[in-house]
Symmetry: C3
Subunit: 484 residues, 3 copies
Amino acid sequence: SGNCLSIVIVNGTKNSTSLRVRLPVLVFALEVLVVVLYSVFVTYDDQTNALLQNNKTQPLENTVYQDYPFFADIQVMIFIGFGCLLAFFRRYGFGGMVFNFLTATFAIQWAILVQGFFHFYYDGQIHLGVINLINAEFACAVVLISFGAVLGKTSPVQLLVMALLEVPVFGVTEWIVVEHLKINDAGGSILIHLFACYFGLGVTFILYRPSLNEGHSKEGTTYQSDLLSVLGTLFLWVFWPSFNCALTLRGDDQHRAILHTFIGLSASTLTAFALSALLSKNGKLSMADVQNVTLAGGVTVGASVDMMISPAVAYVLGMLGCTACMLGYKYLSPFLARRLRLQDQCGIHNLHGLTGLISTIAGICAILLASEETYGPSLYQTFSYRLEAGLGRTAKEQALYQVVALGSTISISAVGGVLTGLVLKLPYLASPTDEFCFDDELFFNVPLDEDQASESQEPRCSETQITNHQYILQSKPADDVITS
Amino acid sequence: SGNCLSIVIVNGTKNSTSLRVRLPVLVFALEVLVVVLYSVFVTYDDQTNALLQNNKTQPLENTVYQDYPFFADIQVMIFIGFGCLLAFFRRYGFGGMVFNFLTATFAIQWAILVQGFFHFYYDGQIHLGVINLINAEFACAVVLISFGAVLGKTSPVQLLVMALLEVPVFGVTEWIVVEHLKINDAGGSILIHLFACYFGLGVTFILYRPSLNEGHSKEGTTYQSDLLSVLGTLFLWVFWPSFNCALTLRGDDQHRAILHTFIGLSASTLTAFALSALLSKNGKLSMADVQNVTLAGGVTVGASVDMMISPAVAYVLGMLGCTACMLGYKYLSPFLARRLRLQDQCGIHNLHGLTGLISTIAGICAILLASEETYGPSLYQTFSYRLEAGLGRTAKEQALYQVVALGSTISISAVGGVLTGLVLKLPYLASPTDEFCFDDELFFNVPLDEDQASESQEPRCSETQITNHQYILQSKPADDVITS
Amino acid sequence: SGNCLSIVIVNGTKNSTSLRVRLPVLVFALEVLVVVLYSVFVTYDDQTNALLQNNKTQPLENTVYQDYPFFADIQVMIFIGFGCLLAFFRRYGFGGMVFNFLTATFAIQWAILVQGFFHFYYDGQIHLGVINLINAEFACAVVLISFGAVLGKTSPVQLLVMALLEVPVFGVTEWIVVEHLKINDAGGSILIHLFACYFGLGVTFILYRPSLNEGHSKEGTTYQSDLLSVLGTLFLWVFWPSFNCALTLRGDDQHRAILHTFIGLSASTLTAFALSALLSKNGKLSMADVQNVTLAGGVTVGASVDMMISPAVAYVLGMLGCTACMLGYKYLSPFLARRLRLQDQCGIHNLHGLTGLISTIAGICAILLASEETYGPSLYQTFSYRLEAGLGRTAKEQALYQVVALGSTISISAVGGVLTGLVLKLPYLASPTDEFCFDDELFFNVPLDEDQASESQEPRCSETQITNHQYILQSKPADDVITS
């Protein structure tokens, strides 16, 4: 692909897709912003500040040894798991893996500041340790999930702007839901998955491209891209227990979170294979199902992952989540795309939305059923709002708070997504034209493959394709010419 | 490949390879079985049960912090290491990586139950924590090693049935060898590698396909598949110390296990490169050697991995194991395939059988040489059966137990494998025909590669190939037609 | 590629590139050397020796639990991170990934001995634990970085010889710099990165090949090789904090090292994307920049990574290092290659040299600014040479020591590299001819790709290419013939 692009395809600077000026300008502006705010507001916390250590400090009791292993695992999920998973398009492997890298990097930097102001701010400063990085990784995961809805249809400039706007909206929601509503959501089914899903849907609703509903020649996969994407799935699958347990209470709560996540994923994986064969016309497995639907269980157990739900229930949740996710891919996604302008490129509504809803309901049930008989005194740790000396909420009251959290998360994220989408439609953001969606040629110097190199004398595309382009000459050709 | 398959190639439902009905039926049956047994029998252990924590419980002393890092490392080995390693065939990358995913997932679920009944059952319940998952991973590794013998020749339905049967046979063997014979085998050279090897050989003996001895057009590798497979090797290599030390005694025993595994692997890697060049006709390295033979040292140090064998001996064991493994690939495997009906697709008899035998012998030597002079009081921890207050065995007696364990493991596994092979030959299990061995087209919707897409008007295969197929029409064509 | 190589291309045994004799001879000689030295000199340390454990030993306080997680992370970096990163050439993926595997394995074995004599030798023995392996991994990283300068231009025989010579030179330098000059260099910016860089440049200076300055047909990348290489970058990126903190003081020092490394990498990643777009002619991103320049920040924070430099300064260091690295790739590397005979294949002078220099300067500044006000009593731990009861150095004196360390490291490594280069030019080391640089065909049995297989009747290369070869017949053809 790209053999026939040796033509000028711009219609003026405003809609140019050259990154030469706009990406550096945006990035340097963001970097200056970040470095100024870091230098003014960010300092070390009591685990990283040398001044606060004394003779009684036990170096091996530094919290870094509790937090860093989980941080590293989630890093693998974000940069390698997501990166490979998103590289499934035929000619958008660079975009999937590399824009994920760029967006994730900025999202974490930015979330350190935003979440810092909400959660780690005292004495006029944000106090920093690895625990902040774990929190920032969650905010980053939110951005990357939303990214899935618009994969291949957005420039890196747009993605950075999206991260810039999404992280604060997420920060506010987190502040409301965690600090004020005080909900149970250890695995982030509501706060992370549902937020990310509806934010992403909001963005893609605005960025609707009717022509893509007709199918796009580059939207398919190749043998290699499918393998790379499954590799990403496997990294996410293997380290998902670390994701779901990283911020739970230490000890048995964290232990249960690991067990339940493993069991949930395990159940959803088996189910995904069964349904993939059952729902295919020719009785064969589809790699897209293996790449996505197998992971549903990790989300579905999320809201109750640290509770005493029993291993069997974790298993059932995995099966249910997987079934909803699979049916969503099969029947709901095409409907949403055609009727509701919701072109959800990776199907995040199935993998994070439907599963998140089931998880929320399961979480409410688990809260209602929680009793001293099952938990003993631990009840008032896992469900600390029930302490009479504290908030003194009943289980039923808490169920209401969970519902309120659900409603507010979905509303804020959807509205935030729509508004962000409107910003992304502004000019100068290098938004790709329809025909260059899912095509690395647009933003990367793509190497000629060996076969292409040896066959370059035979153009592969017809004249009709070329006539789709807009032939508008421009003053700075070197900046905006796309050559193959 | 697959451009010329637009034909009906079934001979009745009995031998159909469509997964549409049989895979979901089997998976849902297994899932119902698992979920019923989990809900009746599986509960939390004292590290995961909230009710059993009290004021004196130190959350950070929960065993999850000792076990989870090793669990996660072995997860990487099983899902990513094995997955990539098995993806080496030219057109069977999906099968290698994805059937590994499916089989491993079910094997662990199932092993939690089977091993639970043998090792974690009291008060009428199986008690569950991450330690059970580590044990289940070992059972899973056994299944995956055996899978290597029949890679590309079995349907996912057959693989699930194999896991269903192999895990209980392994469970019984483990119960005999660990609980009753009480052998030293920290790295599982006898229990895991030899069991898996002879079980797999038993299966492949029954599933013998004479036509494959003539070579198969799809049995080769590609540049990309070789790279992916080496990547799998590297993941196995890097995390193998975690595998060999996960169930040793904590402290210096575990420390030695890590050292010895690293040194053994290191020695076998160097040796593999030397022998690969030496034994090739043109003085070039073979990727198959790099993918497999480099790992031999990890198995060879297994049975004595926690003992005071000295670093130099670990090194020599790595060299010996590698040499046996390499000679096995070169001379023994072709002989076994042609004369003994043992078509061992990945050469597990070399990598796990021969090395396991050497490891067993080395383990016996190390047991015989162990003395208070070398170990001090620790002698009665690493070799607890020598405690007079306990079993009071002498080293020589123990050597006999090791030999008995070796014999019983090999016999049980070989018989179990043969019987399992007979079950796998039953109809309705979607066994692939000879010509569709090693071919993802059979069980996957394989994307057309770009080149194929643009050249689809020129069929690549000759008429003679087509005439090999069986032209039998069938009532439910949509279910059983293979289209390219 | 390789379809037209069915010809004899040797000019006598002396310059033959067959590995059949020379690789096994060298490897077995090295293995005998290693195993003899291990058996005479290497024993267990007090954490791995069973004899030294007693009733008071707390197994869970064994240092293996502090060291092994970092060891494993760095293993991933060395074998998987470097391995994938170096696989970027179009037809040298096997060489990049597999020679990295071979060289790293030997370098670690060898470094255990060399560093053992300098740092872990007492009572006439080298005492071994996982801590030695971490140290050996650093020596190994040095060799692999230097390898980057000569990637694709050296045989595995030459690479082993290089490791054999480089590790002792590094060991001496480490001994001078760490044990005698006692410098601050937690992340190894001086000792690891600068040493490796100038050693590698010394080697490549001697191995200069004028014809490669004209460009080489196989020097490019493919879509797949670029993706694999980025995957390697991501593994290095994710685990770099473990590399920079593995040998710092436990507690807050290690915590800061993790934070700073993450922030530095994060800043250099954003900057790399901006500069890649800014400096490209067509406003597109280059994968080579994503693969290399993003990592610059990890090196730049190295020398001061455990100090109280503040998060903002870590950010600025990442930006600075990245900028220097990028400008180096753009302007300095071509100059060095054409004018100074420094063909630096992977641009290690940019990623490890320039960044290492900046890091050294930053480290000196941080040393000069360190005060009790900022550090409290910890000052005399992080900067232990300032203890009056010890060396009693002032900050300014220490700055001088840092400069001396910088100078001696660069001089020793450059001279060592040049001498090593001279050794590598000796005959019988299977050095590739110019036209077979960057070509796996030379040292590997490369599988025919599917397309090639089906098109093998149409040769792809012209007669003019063939006439470049030397047609000299030889007595042992089977050993030295290269057939496609």
